[in-house]
Symmetry: C2
Subunit: 307 residues, 2 copies
């Protein structure tokens, strides 16, 4: 099984309104609830791809109960979240159906108590014994120390489990130094880490900081990967229209699947780019369109570059 860790899970709400006009009142035309947080999204995509997955991290309060209720019916996905006293945060995407654009409002997240962090560490160590790979995803909630991901990377490496890290800021900086197998920053996160806006330079710089491989998301332009097998670029055949929400999480899911299969880098990257694009093309945020995936997969251009 593949383990995903989401320390700052969320109950994701989506509200559709014909037009979002600040300082007025709106009747929400349609609303939806989904289990959220990066690692939860990654697990949902992996499970849809046919992988047995286990979700851990934290959930609490009525929002946490609702999140777990929404996870329960998903096949191939096991809930191993640790209960917190504090309630799980919500995120809200207000979709302006007229403008075709989204306004995002994210709650900060509830504070994790010291004994809850201890309980999580024990659960994590236990789950690693059965894991083919682990992904550490998203922001840290209040109460969790900034070096937490570095600790979790070291624990996974000590257990011999390949580990992917997808976070930003100081937790990313410290986590990379603990030598994860793979990190997947986007251009902004990479610039924050390295100070460089040149994706080639920054990706290779990030790898020198300790990661075995760095795969940088370039948004609609695809992926750039600095790996032990060289520097690779993978790009979709053309622009894909739709909702980019969840595209990054789908790329992480494909990279994890490739890590577990020990697939060649060009195959991993092609799959990640095609799955991302199929997620953008899906009308439902965070899900992928299997027909688009099958169509795009052979069309992704993967090229090796000189470092």
């Amino acid at each position: 099984m593949i383990l995903t860790v989401t320390l700052n899970t969320a109950l994701d709400l989506t509200y559709e309104v014909p037009a979002l006009v600040p300082h007025t009142s709106h009747r929400v035309a349609r609303s939806a609830e989904r289990p959220g947080g990066k690692g939860v999204n990654v697990a949902r995509v992996l499970a849809a791809l046919g992988h047995e997955t286990v979700v851990t991290g934290f959930a609490g309060g009525p929002t946490g109960d609702r999140l777990r209720e929404l996870l329960a019916p998903l096949p191939r996905l096991t809930d191993a979240l640790v209960r917190t006293e504090a309630a799980t945060r919500r995120t809200l995407a207000v979709v302006d159906t007229g403008a075709g654009d989204t306004t995002q409002l994210n709650e900060t997240g509830a504070t994790v108590a010291p004994d809850e962090w201890t309980a999580f560490r024990a659960r994590y160590a236990e789950l690693l014994t059965g894991a083919a790979a682990v992904a550490l995803c998203g922001s840290l909630p209040p109460g969790v120390h900034v070096g937490a991901y570095a600790d979790l990377v070291r624990t996974a490496r000590a257990a011999g489990v390949p580990v992917l890290l997808d976070t930003s800021g100081e937790p990313l900086r410290r986590g990379i130094a603990a030598r994860p197998d793979l990190v997947k920053p986007n251009a902004d996160e990479l610039a924050g880490l390295t100070g460089s806006r040149d994706p080639r330079r920054a990706t290779q710089d990030a790898r020198r900081r300790g990661a075995h491989a760095v795969v940088t998301s370039l948004g609609p332009d695809g992926l750039l990967a600095a790996t032990p097998d060289g520097l690779w670029r993978a790009a979709p055949p053309g622009p894909v229209h739709g909702n980019p929400t969840g595209a990054g999480d789908s790329a992480v899911a494909a990279l994890l699947a490739g890590l577990v299969a020990d697939a060649p880098w060009p195959d991993r990257l092609a799959h990640a780019v095609a799955l991302s694009a199929a997620t953008v093309a899906s009308p439902v945020a965070g899900e992928y369109d299997p027909a688009v995936l099958a169509d795009l997969l052979p069309k992704v251009r993967v090229t090796q570059e000189t470092p």
Copy 2:
């Protein structure tokens, strides 16, 4: 005890952001949850004023559980809500602390099943036997027929319990025809009912449609009341700065208290205007500042007008 009915309860969320900018992402600086829906708000104010209150209507799902959890610790307030299969709606107020203004997003509400409506009718009849007055407040959820308030007014009258109706649109039109003791529209609701934007004319017109008394909220200008004792106007001594959220519900609470005490109309109206103003002045939405209430009460100007 005083009974309040909220068929379309809500879990009210408030998000504070430094500036609401459509099509961007926001970190919510502060968030709060409150039990909501007009009748719930009215009951909270009545309980704070010292009255024993009972809250009925519907609540369901994790949001309904949370609403009830928030009601539980309130003194003098008893939860007699009927459980629904569907989840209670949320409302969201996004407070732009820079602009000092609010953007409101209201979910529609869950559908009430026929057997849930039957269960509510039985609970309502039972609760009326111990009620000194009843208030029917707010919008109707999906699944409840448009003449529901008219039916509930008739049941209250048959039980000899004075009944206040605070709603809008077709439910208000039908409810008035069932001869409630008091309706409290605002100028917009009144214009929708009568077709007139002249508050004097529209208030008297509304009374002729069946209500024993009509108290129209004129916002910062106070109240206008068409009663069996004549036409009255009540106005605060000057403008009150703050958050008008809940001011209308506070006026309803004061009018209910006056109805139960059978107080003279000038006293009822002065109390309603002062309590509304004290609610606007309170830093917490929907609560009132007792010092402001005590200060303003003797200063409210109540004048009788010729019809």
